[in-house]
Amino acid sequence: MKTYWKLVIPITLIVLVATVLGACVPAPPPAVEPPVEEVAPPAEVPTWWAEAAAPYKGVTIRGISESTPPSKYVLEVLVAPFEKETGINVEFEVTSWDEMYTKAIRDMEAATGIYDFVYIEQDIIYAYLAQNFLVDLTAFSEANPNLLYPELEMDDFTAFIDNFKDAEGHVYGLPFEAFLKVYLYRTDLFEDPEIKAAFKEQYGWDLRPATTFEEYRQIADFFTLWGKEQGVELWGSTVQAGSHPAAFYEMFETIFPSFGVYNWGINMENWKATTANGGALDSDRAKEALRYWVEMLEVAPPEARASTWDEVAASFAGGRAAQGWVYGENAAWIATDETRSAVVGKVGVALPPLYEGVLDDAKARRGYIGYYDGGAMGIPHSSKNQEAAWLFIQWISRKEIQGDFAAKTARIVRTSTFDDPLVKEMDPKVGGYYTLFKEHGDLFKGAPPFPFHAPIREVILPYILKAIAGEMTPEAALDEAAKAVDAELVKLGYGQ
């Protein structure tokens, strides 16, 4: 009897505490990256795969990628049929962004050969190429013509594949995800007649997605106040300002370009960031941009200061922000998945607000308006199963699976995918995201081609975080950051 009570009391206490906490806490936004719905492969699998893979049957290949909706789709939908068809076993590690880089770089740098295929984000490819980490896939496919899938159709890839080519046009990675960082807004709020009338009365113009930063701020101010008055948890804008490289990326790849500060403010001719040396990182425009973004935290949900890209998507999906800059890979689930999003059917997509002249710069290819993100799968030189890995990365790039892949994860790497019936059906549900992607994708751009991407990001990041936390003014932060970048680039062997 005594033993019985010894068990019952603690269990009851634990259940009680859990119930009280669960009942009192506001409902969190939906899970960040729930599993993608499993579907059968949409197209018939050609027998070519079984024949090509016959010598590698029983081989196990290992790969690593960031835990994103596209990677989860590969893991949950594309791996099993490949294993069944080819007899090649695939161990695909889908992990956090930080860990993915740490593991992949360490593996390739030490040539340990743990990974047979790795995720190469567009921004890191230049560093990988400079260090000769990757297999030249063009040369590899020429040397192994029997392993080249006859229907791969390299010409069908969007121009995004150019990011993964060297100066001779040789390909080092097959794109498997690409998307835009777009301006999402709540259509239910923006189209509400009462809200529209109140907004017009206050600001004198019709409520619509902002095209300038002044408009964006006015909308943010309005909805933050409106949320307070209505007693709902709604704020004016998402901001990706956690103590994480994500804060750097939102500032340098979304806000800076739309303010007309390109290539991180680094002069690519002499590798200098200070204005005194021809850079723009400490320019007035850059300072204005950082101040604007930091001040946006006043009208952002409280979790903004702890948000990476995942939490930004979750905040928007939880209905906690009226508008925001959100990575396109999340657009599909935010707009359509009722099990994970509270704003299904209420999502609009638009081009981000821009500083005067930026759109003209982008059209003339002098600049760009925002971030064209994505990645490819490549094979490290250290891989011991390059042939089997090459088959797998072709498998996930096949044209016939692209429609479902794009509709589920809002990524497009092939031109033909834009016309896929599944994508066309999905487009209006995602506020016209795919149309915007097709028509205006060329106005966006990936990260600058820096072979020193990660070290320079890490040099700048603390200054951005200090500006967010108020340890430094945005102006002082960029002054110091620019000097630090100039010094670090010299250490890295650039801009001597």
Binding site: V25, S243, A469
Partner: protein
Amino acid sequence: MKSSKTAWGLLAPTLIILGLVGLLPFIYVLYVGFHDWMIFAKVSGLVWAGVDNYRELVFDEDFLAALGRGLRFTIWTVSIQMVLGLLLAHLLMKKFKGRGFFRAIHALPLTVAPLVVGATWRLLTIPGLGPLPFYLNKIGIDYNIGWSAQQAFFTTVLMHIWHWTPFVTLTFLAGLSALPKEPFEGAMVDGANQWQIFRYIFLPMLKPVILIALFLRIMDALRIVDEVWMLTGGGPGTATRYVGIHIWRVVFPMTNYGYGSAMSVLLLYFIIVVCWLLLTVITQAKREAGT
């Protein structure tokens, strides 16, 4: 002679493993610390740098600030852990109903991996969504560790105390259980009060255990990375970027292996000096008390 050989033979496997997993990596870190090695530099291999990394470190404001923050964190956490641990151990030595149950559950935090501790505390404290900001907001406290440097700092302190005080308690419990009863009984017979017993019998007799717990906690606290990384990521700003996190960022995301190795060696040296100073002060105090 034969027994000496047998002893060395029996020790050999342990010594070989220790050498491979402890000594060799340390020698390697020492070696790398004397080189420039940035894998994304134009020259990406090991380049001999002599003591340049160490010379630069002495004037590196970010490193020194991180070291200072780490030291402040260590002073707060270790001193509270030691006091709380001693009190709890003392309490748990007494006989009361439910003592066994409390002894068991109070050690539960020790069984949780630091990363999980950090993740759990993050869920508890995440601004706008966690229960802690929610309830504190109800009583008029604006708690946001993404914004307030002080709140973030003390939340990491609290988390670390929660996680590691049971270790101190258990260490003291082991020490207390091994203490002989006679000196205490003798002191009571002689009319000593509780404070005198504590000050002149309990503390001196428990000193070796206290020193072990103190040094282990200082070393652990100064090197902390994982749980703080999960909770705050080193922010807001640089408020919780303790020296371990600073080194981690330099070595991994920044891939500056040479400089990061030098930092690690310097941190090790710093920890040894802190512990040695502490030991000297305590020993000196004892000597003076004896004279």
